[in-house]
Symmetry: C2
Subunit: 351 residues, 2 copies
DNA sequence: ATGAAAGCGCTAACAC
DNA sequence: GTGTTAGCGCTTTCAT
């Protein structure tokens, strides 16, 4: 294709063609009432014929409102972040916002400043920080947050005074998983955690601990090993646990990938699940229902998490816009997970 | 937080503060050489102090170049699309482009027009159409493509004259999978396809057919059933196949999800894999290595697919920009998949 | 090396 | 109802 593309039609050209002022065309485009029906028809026809499309950049420049949201994410190759983004995208579409997407190369993120600068330079109306809280990667923000010219909503992190946060209740999930195992009669319940510099991993572990404590079941350090979310680490984790705790009958695993590793270990070592080892995972990935045996797990609605984040940030934007500062104050929104019981934990249920 | 945010600093304010013209500040910001070192220092200091950030919208307006790419995707909750997006995002970052993300609610997509309009209204420099070719969802484009004011690169679709396309070689993948099974001595090799209105599904099937034909192995319609990519349909598919083809010893499954279903069926029915039934999947999802047994599958590099797409579209943008129309012509780029052999197909290998 | 003028495409405010 | 004027924040061209 060796032809130069023709430059887009402008308001001016349409106006000239229609023999009216730029202003009138602008009114038609913006569906203002104060245009003669007859004029409107004529202009509309010309717009159609010339293939006019308003330049949103110019409009944003003058309106000081881009109707654009910045989303910062990481690890899109994993299901969690992409399910969240899925929710963000669909809700943004629904609320008529367009997304600017930024992906951090890793969860450590040391390019935050330039990334943030680009987002702001492009005049986003708000930002959704959809990155897991790992180590101290939130601290970098603290110093800047007060200077930020737009609202920010954070996903999945610990409550912080004055910050706007939407999160899955990971601790509740951990508790539900453990309580379920307790209800099945288990007493020696191990836990394979995610990397403990992840806030989510710590929360899930806390849920496990609290459930055990509440049931008066003694716990000891050897019941818990740290994984790295990968299936391999699940295999290693269960191997360690079984070596250290001979009478282990159940394990709550920090995510489904690691739980798959546990199931795989069982398959290889002739350990039957759930008879010899009950397993509960976390995430409810699509595949979990078809593991062998199907995996009991904690389901959390990341799509909804994403949707909520968009709603919250837009709510703040709108509040600040309309000089209406009520209704835009920071809050911590918790989304509750649910327990999905399948065969990997069901001692007495039908296969 | 009930305080109104302060509006961003502008060039003008910096200029006034520094006692120079707007022009000079602009030169400093754009790192032009023709500024006295001393002036530059002073301006830079003030920029820093006032927290000035250039307004990219204004810049794009005048430069007719937004350094923005539109990405249209669908089904982000699935691993395929999100791995692709991952590649697109990282490469875009690397090439200094920012992404505008649009997600279609489903693969049928009948809101294409408005979605495209929004992208163009926001002055994207190019578009990456990262949506699987399903049914006739490409045809809608044909009528418009010639009018598009910016380059478009399509992902994963059949070659079409004059279109710029980057795709995985699905047929080659199907062939490799089947040839592997043939090499293991199998002769009755079934196939569970994806939905056949998907181009990819048809390609994979074609690969299977051609491999069988090349080996002189007779094939018949009952060796092939259509699934819908889901694990459930994999279970149903293998059940049908086994009922219709009693001497079936191997099956090539259109994706890993369905292959997981097949493995699950085997687990439930006491069918041993690979001994009684060899299974090969397609996609190489992270979990596949930990299925029981670990799944032999076709690996394709979707991350690279995404990267390539960005490179291609930027190449075209740059070519058209510089009046240099060479090097920007449409092409069909194929990315080759690879076979990953694991236990589910390895008759004679070590467990 | 620096500044003044013009204008990107559009909308807000006011006039008529 | 419609047109005129001004200007969003910036870059370009041209003068000095």
């Amino acid at each position: 294709m060796a032809t130069k593309r023709k430059p887009p039609t402008t308001l001016k050209q349409v106006a000239k063609e229609a023999g009216v002022s730029i202003q009138t065309v602008s009114r038609v485009v913006n569906e203002r009432p104060d245009v003669a029906p007859e004029t409107r028809e004529r202009v509309l026809a010309i717009i159609e014929r010339m293939g006019y499309r308003p330049n949103v950049l110019a409009r944003s420049l003058i309106r000081r409102r881009s109707h654009t949201l910045g989303v910062v994410t990481a690890g899109l190759m994993y299901t969690g972040p992409s399910r969240t983004l899925n929710g963000v995208a669909s809700q943004a579409q629904r609320m008529n916002y367009t997304l600017l997407l930024k992906e951090l190369p890793d969860f450590g993120g040391y390019t935050i400043q330039s990334l943030l600068d680009d987002l702001l330079a492009r005049q986003v109306d708000g930002i959704i920080w959809a990155i897991a809280e790992v180590g101290g990667n939130r601290e970098e923000f603290v110093s800047q947050l007060s200077y930020l010219p737009v609202p920010v909503v954070f996903l999945t992190m610990a409550p912080r005074e004055g910050w706007h946060i939407v999160a899955i209740d990971n601790e509740a999930g951990g508790r539900m998983a453990t309580e379920h195992l307790l209800a099945q009669g288990h007493r020696r319940i191990g836990h394979i955690t995610g990397p403990l510099d992840w806030w989510e991993a710590r929360e899930r572990k806390a849920g496990w601990e609290k459930a055990l404590a509440a049931a008066g079941v003694p716990q000891s350090p050897e019941l818990c090993v740290e994984g790295d979310w990968s299936s391999i680490s699940g295999i290693e984790g269960i191997a360690h646990l079984r070596a250290r705790v001979p009478d282990l009958t159940a394990v709550f695993v920090g995510n489904d990938q690691m739980a798959l590793g546990v199931l795989h270990y069982a398959y290889q070592h002739g350990v039957r699940s759930p008879q010899d080892l009950a397993v509960v995972g976390f995430d409810d990935i699509t595949e979990a229902a078809f593991f062998s045996p199907p995996l009991t797990t904690i389901h959390h609605d990341l799509h909804r998490l994403g949707c909520t984040a968009v709603q919250e940030v837009v709510r703040r934007i709108e509040a600040e816009q309309g000089d209406n500062l009520v209704g835009g104050d920071p809050r911590y929104a918790h989304i509750q997970p649910t327990l999905i019981v399948r065969e990997s934990s069901a001692l007495q249920s039908a296969a």
